[in-house]
């Protein structure tokens, strides 16, 4: 083994790994530099910015953050987004489980047709107009519940991933649980859910990213500013203060900071979730 790997390692030694590190640093720079520029701008006063927009900050103005926070009501907006994301992605994941599992097991007639429907769900046309019309007609226009239901229904690959994962759970387990007297619900929620946790996490994360990033459906379905998610709130803030760059930069960082922190804490699961979806 060592005899085989040794020549490779020797060949790859210095120059190649130096190039690799250099390239990786270039990539990292392309991603971090815009963020650092925003950080730099966020600490500048307006005069400071107009004098030299790209110069390093000399006297940091933390007041920008206080002002952005007070004017933007970002706390409430982030709260809205967290509510929509958790509720809609949670419901969507539950729905994917409720339909994906029995179809994978063949507990209903025509499971192939149902599976075909799951695939069709991936290629639906943009239905923003009819979703708007629907909510308008059933009295859920401008309602948080209506928005959550619309976002939850966009399950995407969810049912397919759950159905694929369910095949790794032996059907004998269903039978054993049934023999022991467990009902279907008890089996689904206390046996299948823990076993399918990786697939459920993937489904939840994929849907959550979509909901967190939505701005257009929220614009159409939630005209009330109080109900806006952070994506929409920050966009409106940009429209209002479009020349106060220090303030805008501070607002951007206020919204970005909790995301970066949450991402660093959860990145293993997040990235693992994406990978899981492709393998499935």
């Amino acid at each position: 083994m060592t005899a085989q790997t040794a020549p490779r390692r020797r060949r790859r030694v210095r120059p190649q790994s130096v190039i690799n590190y250099a390239l990786a640093l270039v990539v990292a720079f392309a991603y971090l530099f815009p963020l650092l520029f925003v950080l730099n701008t966020s600490l500048k006063s307006d005069q400071d910015f107009f004098r030299n927009p790209v110069g390093l900050v000399t006297s940091p103005q933390f007041g920008n953050f206080v002002e952005a926070w007070n004017r933007g009501h970002f706390g409430a907006l982030i709260g809205n987004s967290v509510l929509y994301t958790l509720a809609a992605a949670g419901l969507g994941t539950l729905v994917s489980l409720m339909i994906g599992f029995p179809v994978s097991r063949g507990y209903f007639k025509h499971s192939r047709a149902w599976y075909g429907l799951f695939v069709v769900l991936l290629f639906l046309p943009n239905a923003i107009i009819t979703q708007f019309q629907l909510l308008l007609r059933i009295g859920l226009y401008n309602s948080q519940l209506g928005y959550i239901l619309i976002m939850a229904a966009a399950v995407g690959v969810g049912p397919i991933l759950i159905a694929a994962y369910a095949r790794s759970i032996p059907i004998e387990l269903d039978e054993a649980a049934a023999v022991d007297g467990a009902g279907y619900w008890r089996y689904l929620f206390t046996f299948v859910v823990p076993l399918a946790r990786p697939a459920l996490a993937t489904v939840f994360i994929l849907q959550a990213i979509g909901i967190w990033n939505d701005i257009i459906l929220a614009t159409v379905l939630l005209p009330d500013r109080q109900k806006a998610p952070i994506s929409l709130g920050l966009y409106a803030f940009q429209g209002t203060y479009n020349n106060e760059w220090g303030l805008l930069a501070a607002a951007t960082l206020i919204v970005a900071a909790p995301l970066v922190v949450a991402f660093l804490a959860l990145q293993r699961y997040l990235i693992g979730g994406i990978v899981g979806s492709v393998k499935g």
Binding site: Y21, P53, F123, L124, P125, Q238, V260, L270
Partner: protein, 302 residues
């Protein structure tokens, strides 16, 4: 009756049909209704009469007054989709191969590339608006070194290219992560065997990595195409809903149906706007099936 080991079927039926109902009522039926309303003159205001108008909306789509606007949106969408798909997949493979080397801190690099996915479209929009601020920012500074000035997102010749650039920057992380997963599934001993046979780095990439990465390529390209043909969030945030230079089909749909903002758009002709959605749907269907067939064939050949 299909096989079912549990004693009572009612719970099974309840949860299954509940799930189907949620998806059906709020996703599937509205999607099907798009086709139906494209043959009506439905408006954004409730209470107005709705009549069947046959193919009138489609005829209007191709009418001299509208066809320029619509073909412009179509052209932009195709340019956007093709360039984003090509560049982000080539870069995605390159960066994934790079990060698959024995590199200290490669998880940190991977996390950095993935970060924009989490930041969300508005934060990214603001970051790049600041970056490409014509009044002074890093981009304006670089331009000034060459004695040039630009309005960036305000310049109709440059705006689409910049939106494409930001879209690639934003979406690359997902591509990289999927390619990395594909690379890690390639058994190490294939590389060792190739090395023993005296294959160079490029030959190993060409003859081991590329064929075995083919399924990831299919998944990634398909995701990119379907995603970009339907995307509009970023163009909306960076250049607004009715900028012709960056008008994408979905954005045209949005501004025709809702007039750019919901409050003023309640009287808009949504039946007409629905035709855009139908036409877009057909394009997505054709493009993704062609690409899928092509890539599957290649996979089989490699």
């Amino acid at each position: 009756m299909n096989y079912f080991p549990f004693s009572r079927r009612t719970p099974l039926r309840l949860t299954f049909w509940f799930g189907i109902a949620v998806i059906g009522v709020f996703g599937l039926i509205p999607a099907i209704a798009v086709f139906v309303i494209s043959f009506t003159n439905i408006r954004g205001l409730p209470g107005l009469p709705v009549d069947w108008v046959g193919f009138e909306n489609y005829v209007r789509w191709f009418s001299p007054a509208k066809v320029g606007y619509n073909l412009n949106a179509l052209r932009n969408t195709i340019v956007y989709s093709v360039t984003v798909t090509l560049i982000s997949n080539v870069l995605g493979i390159a960066i994934a191969v790079l990060l698959n080397q024995k590199l200290r801190g490669r998880n940190a690099f991977r996390a950095i590339v993935f970060l924009p996915t989490v930041l969300g479209v508005t934060v990214i929009g603001l970051i790049w608006t600041l970056f490409f601020n014509p009044g002074g920012g890093p981009a304006a500074t670089v331009w000034s070194w060459f004695g040039a000035k630009s309005a960036f997102f305000g310049d109709p010749h440059l705006a689409l290219a910049l939106v494409i650039f930001v879209q690639i920057w934003m979406g690359l992380g997902v591509n990289v992560v999927i390619y990395l997963a594909g690379l890690q599934a390639i058994p190490e001993d294939l590389y060792e065997a190739a090395a023993i046979d005296g294959a160079t780095g490029w030959q190993r990439f060409r003859n081991v990595t590329v064929p075995l990465l083919a399924p990831s390529v299919t998944a990634n390209v398909l995701l990119s195409i379907v995603g970009t043909l339907q995307s509009y969030q970023l163009a909306y945030v960076l250049t607004g809903p009715s900028n012709l230079a960056t008008q994408l089909l979905s954005l045209a749909l949005f501004s025709q149906a809702f007039g750019g903002n919901a409050a003023s758009g309640l009287g808009n002709t949504q039946g007409y706007a629905a035709t855009i959605s139908v036409i877009q749907f057909v394009i997505v269907g054709i493009a993704s099936s062609l690409v899928l067939i092509y890539l599957r064939r290649r996979e089989a050949k490699l």
